[in-house]
Structures are given as C-alpha cells and as structure tokens.
C-alpha cells in the first residue's frame, strides 16, 4: 500500500482531534480555570486551600476504593487462574458471562441491589421466610463497597485473564520441573508474570471507584458521602462551580498519580519491566 502523506495522515486524525479539543481539553481547562477563581471570576487560591476541609471525604473515598479494589483482586485472580485451566469453549462461555452484566445499564443494576439489600428488601424477606434474623445491610460501608466490587469486578477479571491466558504453559512446566510445587509456581512464576494484567486491572477498578458517586448514593440511600457525591452536590445543588472544580482537580491529580504508579509495572507491550 502507498504510504499516506503526512498531511493526509493528519487529516484522518482530525475528527478525533476536534473531538478531543472540544470535549477533553476544553473541559479540563475550565476545571483548572474555575479552581483558581471565585464566583466573580477573580483569581484566588481559596478553593485549593479549602480542600483541606474535605480531607475526611477524600480519605473515605480512597479507603473504600482500595478495599473494593483489593476485594476485586482477591475474587478475580483465582477465577482468572481457574478460567485458564478450562477447555477453550468453556472459557469463552464463562468470559461472556463475566461481561454479561455490562450489557445492562449500570444504574439499573445498582438500583437492583438496593431492592435486594434494603431492610424490607428481598434478602431480608428470604431470611424471614427461613426464620433467620434480619440483617441491616443498606446504608453501611459494606453495602457501598459491595456495589463497587459488583460493578467493577469484570474490569479486574478481564485484563488478568488476558495476561494469564497468554502465558506460555511450558514456563509452568519448567518451574515444576525445577522443583516448584503448585504454590511455589504461582508465587515465583505466574504471579510476577501476570503483574501487567494485575496493574491494569487495579487501575481500571481503582479509578472509577475513587470517583464514584451514584453507587454510594444508592447503596447508602444518600447517607455515606464520597468525594464524587460531594462534587456532584457542589455542581448540581450548591451551584458552587469553583469548589466543585477544585475538588475535581484534586481527584484528577490523585488518579493521574495512581496511574503513573501503575504504569511502572508495565511497558507499552504490557511486558514486565525487570
């Protein structure tokens, strides 16, 4: 095929460039601009300095999202390992099942949990029917974290599964051959070689978890506030665009830092950097 001229190549990219400038770059500029101005548009550091009073909220968001990410990993890794050992046909069906919930609106799915878990909800009715004591589940941190784990689990499973399924089976045999039992093989070979998948799984769960607002609202019926909820409140209820922007900026910086940390584990091809 004839090589495209640089100009032609640039033309091909132009629709996306226009899109990115309008809907990615411009909003970011606005976020930064609003963060450093007050209502009248005057330059100020007040918003940034005021972030300190939201420390508890940030702390809670970080803590919940770390717990959710960890739980996702603990659920996803053994599943991905088991998947890789199955017949290819079974693997395909199960991977589709993992992705199946993603075909449904995540709003509806989260709302369904509310119906299940609330004090007069389905689970408690079942417990009643079995003459077991009721549980208070909704409005607890556990419920919020459950919502995050449920929603973001596929994003942990898929990258780990992809990395594991690409591993050369003879590496496991070589480890066994050299005297490693199953646990030692997992620890010394499989786990280090699947780090790229783990890193991208963590990124893909941690980032949306840390900024979530809908899940925490629904699973706590508005009682447990996370940083995402606060941003929404600032923009939608309080019309405090400047504080909302400052909170968004802080969140963005945190996400970028965590992604940079994760990037250290993978290079472009997803290979492990020694």
């Amino acid at each position: 095929m004839r090589q495209l001229k640089p100009l032609a190549r640039r033309l091909l990219a132009s629709p996306y460039i226009v899109w990115a400038v309008l809907f990615v770059l411009a909003p970011m500029v606005f976020v930064v601009y609003y963060s450093f101005t007050d209502r009248s548009g005057a330059w100020t550091l007040e918003n940034i300095l005021g972030l300190g009073s939201y420390a508890q909220l940030f702390g809670r968001s970080i803590w919940y999202s770390i717990v959710a990410t960890l739980l996702c990993f603990l659920l996803a890794y053994p599943l991905a390992l088991a998947l890789c050992k199955m017949k290819v046909k079974t693997q395909r069906i199960l991977v589709m099942l993992v992705m199946l919930p993603m075909w449904m609106s995540f709003l509806i799915r989260t709302y369904a949990w509310l119906v299940l878990l609330q004090d007069e909800g389905i689970v408690n009715h079942w417990l009643d029917a079995l003459s077991l004591p009721r549980f208070h589940m909704i409005n607890t941190p556990g419920a919020v974290i459950l919502g995050m784990v449920y929603n973001y689990l596929p994003f942990m499973i898929l990258p780990i599964y992809t990395t594991l399924s690409k591993l050369d089976g003879s590496l496991h045999e070589a480890a066994h051959d050299l005297g490693a039992n199953a646990a030692q093989t997992l620890w010394r070979v499989t786990l280090p070689l699947s780090l790229p998948g783990i890193a991208s799984g963590i990124t893909m769960v941690l980032v949306p978890s840390i900024s979530t607002f809908y899940i925490s609202q629904k699973m706590s019926t508005g009682n447990i506030f996370m940083i995402g909820d606060m941003i929404e409140q600032k923009f939608v209820m309080d019309y405090d665009l400047n504080m909302g922007a400052a909170l968004s900026l802080a969140l963005m910086v945190m996400v970028i830092v965590s992604m940079m940390v994760m990037r250290r584990f993978t290079d472009n091809e997803g290979e492990v950097i020694p």
Partner: protein, 371 residues
Amino acid sequence: MKKNRLIDLQNISVTLGDTPVLQGMNLYIRDKEFITLLGPSGCGKTTTLRLIAGFLQPDSGEVFFDGKRVGDTPPHRRPVNTIFQRYALFPHLNVADNIAFGLRLQHKSRVDITRTVDEMLSLVNLKSFANRAVASLSGGQQQRVAIARALAVKPKVLLLDEPLGALDLKLRKDMQLELKKIQRRMGITFVYVTHDQEEALSMSDTVVVMDGGEIQQIGTPIDIYNEPVNAFVADFIGESNIVDGIMLRDDLARFSGHEFVCVDHGFAKDEAVDIVVRPEDVDVVAPDVGMLRGTVTTCTFKGVHYEMIVDIGGFLWMIQTTDYSPVGAFIGLHIEPDAIHVMKKSKYSGLFGDYSCFTEEYYELSEPEEA
C-alpha cells in the same frame, strides 16, 4: 544388567484424545548413557519424554526409577530435569536468577547458590552474562542458560526435547559437540529427542528409532546404520536403496536379476526379504564387469562426492561415488558382500527405498520441518 537400569518403562500405552500415541512400549535407560529417541514427528518420542518427566501419566503400564514405581510422583519430586523445545526461560528473571531458580527452591545457602551459578555459567561459557535479561540473549545463548538452569539442580537425568531445533546449522553442530562434552563431564544420563538422524548418530551411545508409537529398533548408532531391522529404519537413517530380494540360501541372495554373495544368514530357503544397499557402498565399474548395469539419469555434485540416480531395470538406485559419470552413461555397478544387508519383510516393505520419484526439490521438501 538389570541393576544398571536407571529408568524402566514397562508396557506403556498412551492415548491423547482419540489418537493412540504410544502402544505397549518397553524401554529401559541405563545410568550415565546418552540415549536418543529418534523418529518423525508424531512418532511418540516427545510423549515418552513427558512420561519420564512426569508431565503425563500413561493410560497403562508403569514407569520405574531405580526400580521404584514413580507413577504418583509429581514432576517437581522427580530427579529429572527438562530442556524444553523453546527453552521456557523465565522472562522476569535475569540469567543468574533463572539458573538459581531450582537452587532457591531447595533452600540452598546464598553462598552455595552463588557458587553453583558461577560454576554453571562457566560450564556453558556464559560467565559474563549473569546479570543480562534473558530476552536480550540470542537463541544459542538462551539454550545454554536453559542447560545451565537444568543442570544446576544436579539431576540424575537430563531430558532434552529437540533442544537444537531452533538453532542454525553451524551453531547446531557446535552445540552437539558441547552437549556431548557436558554429558561426559557431569556424568549423568541424557535422554535426547530429535528427528535429525545425523544428530542422533553423532551424539548417542544408544539410539531408539520410533515410528507410529512403537519402537522400531534399539541399538548403537553403528548397529542402527549398518544393521537396520526394517525398511523404515533403513530409510530414516541415512540414504538407502531397498529392493525386494530372495534368500536362496545362507550367504546368497538374489535381487535385481542377479545373485549376490552376502554375509547374512538365518533365513528360510527362498524366503522373500528386503535388501538394503547404502549409496556409498556401490562401486561404479565398466558395464561388462558390473554385477548390475544401468543408465545414469541424474548426477549432482555434492562436494565430497557425486550423487547419481541410476536406472537399473526400472528401479532407480541412488549411488554416491567420487567417479563422475555423465547423465545418459551406461555403467556397471559392483557391490561387495558386506555392503549387502538383508532384512525380514515388515509392514514397511515396499514403502521406502526407491528413488523413482526423487528430485532435488523433493529432497528439500522431505527434510524434517523445524520445530
């Protein structure tokens, strides 16, 4: 002799999917020998290796190590190590850590590990490569690391699965010599799998020729070459002209319309047999004194000799000779009694040994493909 058996495979059958891969195989391997399993792809040689390593369980039959059954022993508890076809080096570890992998699992002291790793690195001539990433090494170097890694844990047996298959010809020849040297120096048993007959002949103490999941012949390289048991072995090892013949009596065979004195006996009177004559054992003489006469159809210069195809009564013979005869020449052939090898008829009779469809191109195509 029984005491000398390090590994004993008894009546082993393996079926993978619906395909029977090994059928009632019996094989013993002596301590400290270099034994090669040789055969075309699909003959069951790699399966045999995986049985010994413990990656595969036989459907029936028993594997013995030092007289003890090891059917239930997992790979990591067997005193054998494997060199995998594509080396299977750990990409997240450097050269030294790859070699130390097995030693760390044995909880050796730091000093011991460092010493053994150094020893192994110098054994395979990679002294200055300890801290290199394995991905930065050439195929030949990776091969050496794989050997060092396997030998570091001091196995009793080293299993090698077509280890030189991915290397180019020159490197392959060097590594053949080096492997043989390493085997002697370490004083351990090597079980070597290959489809390359030349490799098998030049390295092994014992060659096991396999086809269709069955052992065709076990013997020293010289035995296998000079005394093949059937047409398959004769054809697979080196070049062979294999013709139908009749044993008139001991030491006298008739084939290609002529009676030949030979040195084979023990056949029934007038028994139908397969006769093997190696191309290099045929002398070109004047037509009037030749035992056989024929017309040269092709003549190719091969460096050391000419390779000619000679049409003798419709059967095409391959002859390797230093005497040039042009295409179309009518020549006589002389065969010494000890150049004639007589084999009993087998299921392979008539399948091999005729060069009628032989062309240079065909020769290239029939070269075993690189694994």
